[in-house]
Symmetry: C2
Subunit: 92 residues, 2 copies
């Protein structure tokens, strides 16, 4: 069964957006980076998921696999961008 | 003399944009960060000036004053965001 047209368009728009993940640990450095950086991203083109690794410990392995060595970090376009230094991922 | 309306609107739009500066030194880490990060910023709201501190040595003092300790770094909203680590600013 075909989806209604509006739903189809929404899915298409969503599929075309670049996915990014901001990993943090709730630390002051993380909060500052989140406010400065995420507010500057083009949300019309990029979907950003914010993940608190202090509480979502089941996401730590995924972050490590993406190359995250410390938080805060933004993973985008296959690159792990470490933004300042809050905590090493080994502490999470 | 009043500016033509279109020019006036352009100036107003430009004045409302947030200013940001991306400092780098042409290193591979800098290039990767520039490509990943600057391409994700919302250029309709943010004007980004890209400064190569290896060639524009007269800008090093300004970068230090903004809190830049290493490159690549993005200064935005009064915050110096160090993105990964290419070189210490003391080497520039």
């Amino acid at each position: 069964m075909l989806a209604p047209r509006s739903e189809s368009l929404r899915n298409q728009e969503s599929n075309m957006k670049q996915q990014a993940t901001f990993y943090h640990a709730g630390c002051p450095v993380c909060v500052t980076a989140e406010q400065s950086l995420l507010g500057a991203l083009d949300r019309s083109r990029i979907d950003v998921e914010v993940v608190h690794l202090g509480t979502a410990k089941n996401r730590v392995a995924e972050a490590k696999a993406a190359g995250v060595q410390s938080v805060p970090a933004l993973v985008i376009g296959g690159q792990a961008l470490h933004v300042n230094f809050g905590a090493p991922i080994s502490a999470l």
